[in-house]
């Protein structure tokens, strides 16, 4: 923390310049790598090196028909809806529980054993149990997604509260802040970066879980579509679904990353 003005000044200057130069080059390289990957895929498919591997054009055509007949949209919507409901519920419950654990040692002592235990079980392993307990409708799927996002989020918001700099709390106290103000004005903002990291991990976990959850008894959804396609050896459909899952996951992650940058731009380091 012992920073001397000139050193910090040069640091800010380089910080302002560097992103412009180094951000464009990775983008170009990213595009090159993607194109090369698709090219390699086309070659491998054309040479028939991998049995039944559809060509990029075949997959693109399949995507076109799935878009025009509406199956892609309805599958995507079905999967997204499950993720959003389960994920949102998980976050909404996890953040207060994490705060409670971080703020009151008694709450922590009561809740932590359960968290630690359930954390070691992959959410996917709970799908059979969820099906038995909750049937095969929407509820078990959403429940498993809820659990996945809850687990990721609760630990990080708990950690966020624990890690709040003690001198910040003291600084607020000596200015006359009562406990509830310290909580709202210091603990909550100070732990936001942790919570957002948890939310990103939780989103990844939810998205991974929804696809697996749909492999078991669903009427629509990207995971269901792949499961069905695999019984008929429809490789192109599987590829369309897979790519959609990847792209959507990436887009959601980037949106959260953007929110994270916005909300935690005050942080000293990144």
């Amino acid at each position: 923390m012992a920073v001397i003005t000139p050193a910090e000044k040069t640091a800010t200057e380089t910080r302002q310049q560097r992103p412009r130069r180094s951000r464009r080059r990775p983008l170009v390289l990213n595009a090159v790598a993607l194109a090369a990957g698709v090219g390699l895929w086309a070659v491998v498919a054309a040479l028939g090196l991998v049995e039944d591997l559809p060509s990029p054009t075949a997959v693109a055509q399949k995507a076109g028909t799935m878009i025009s007949d509406g199956t892609l949209a309805s599958d995507t919507w079905a999967s997204l809806r499950r993720v959003f409901i389960g994920y949102a519920l998980g976050v909404v419950v996890a953040v207060p529980v994490g705060f409670l654990m971080g703020w009151y040692p008694m709450a922590r002592a009561l809740i932590e054993p359960y968290i630690q235990f359930f954390r070691t079980i992959p959410p996917l392993a709970l799908i059979p149990l969820a099906v038995v307990l909750l049937g095969i409708g929407e509820v078990p799927k959403i429940a498993v997604i809820f659990l996945a996002s809850f687990m990721a989020c609760v630990v990080s918001s708990f950690q966020g509260v624990i890690d709040v700099d003690k001198t910040l709390i003291n600084a607020a106290r000596v200015l006359g802040a009562p406990d509830r103000t310290i909580f709202a004005k210091v603990v909550v903002p100070a732990s936001t970066p942790f919570i957002l990291v948890g939310m990103r991990i939780g989103l990844g976990a939810s998205w991974a879980t929804v696809v697996a959850a749909e492999l078991i008894g669903a009427q629509e959804g990207l995971g269901y579509r792949m499961q069905k396609a695999s019984t008929w050896f429809e490789m192109d459909t599987i590829f369309v679904s897979l790519i959609t899952i990847g792209v959507l996951g990436l887009v959601m992650d980037r949106l959260l990353l953007l929110a994270e940058r916005r909300l935690t731009g005050w942080q000293e380091r990144r």
Binding site: M1, I4, T5, K9, N170, A171, G176, K185
Partner: protein
Amino acid sequence: MNSKISFRDVVKTFPLKGATFTALGGVSLDIADQEFVTVVGPSGCGKSTLMSMAAGLQEPDSGSVLVDGTPVSGPGPDRGVIFQQYALFPWLTVRQNVEFGLKLASVPAAERRRRAEQAIALVSLSEFADALPKTLSGGMKQRCAIARAYAVDPQVLLMDEPFGALDALARVQLQDQLLQTWSQEKRTVLFITHDVDEAVYLASRVVVMAARPGRIHRVIDVDLPYPRTEEIRLSTEFRRIRNEVWTSVYHQEAPARSA
């Protein structure tokens, strides 16, 4: 003489591996109203502990800490505290940091704005009022923390090695700035430092502490006039007092002469 702050036989222990560690073993000290007192001593001698009891962040095991004759029962806006680690809220701008205490005191918005502006101007940060702490240098951060403490207009300033993390130049500038504001609006200042020069330059009395158990080793009067100037800093009298303080900090086993 009425004392603004007084420590009476203050004892503070901490549990340490099953045993108890005596951080302060009976400290008594009286600080007069508007006095500038510095505390020096080896690290671990209980300087921060002493200060945080005056701030109301910790309680003594026995003995008492009085401010204006009343036992301290918790933190309060009558005592401003400045920490070595600045402790600025990093998500708030300079202005919002400075207004934090004023909001807590329910000062109306217009008045709040005015007082914050005044405090920010006092530490020459007006240009950076809307900047986030991460864009400030160490010296500017500490100036912001000082403005935040000044804004609520405390009668007592408690400063725990506030300039300890700064480079020599910034440190001297902040020392002069602090003395200047202190001469304008006299407050009682309890200032902790590990820098002997700083201790002598600022104070009218230097308290030298010793460790294990934390206690007051000597109290040395600084008979130098205010305002303190560079001339004073370079004078032989300053050097004499500085040497005396230095000796009593670093050669504590030597028999202490009475001050």
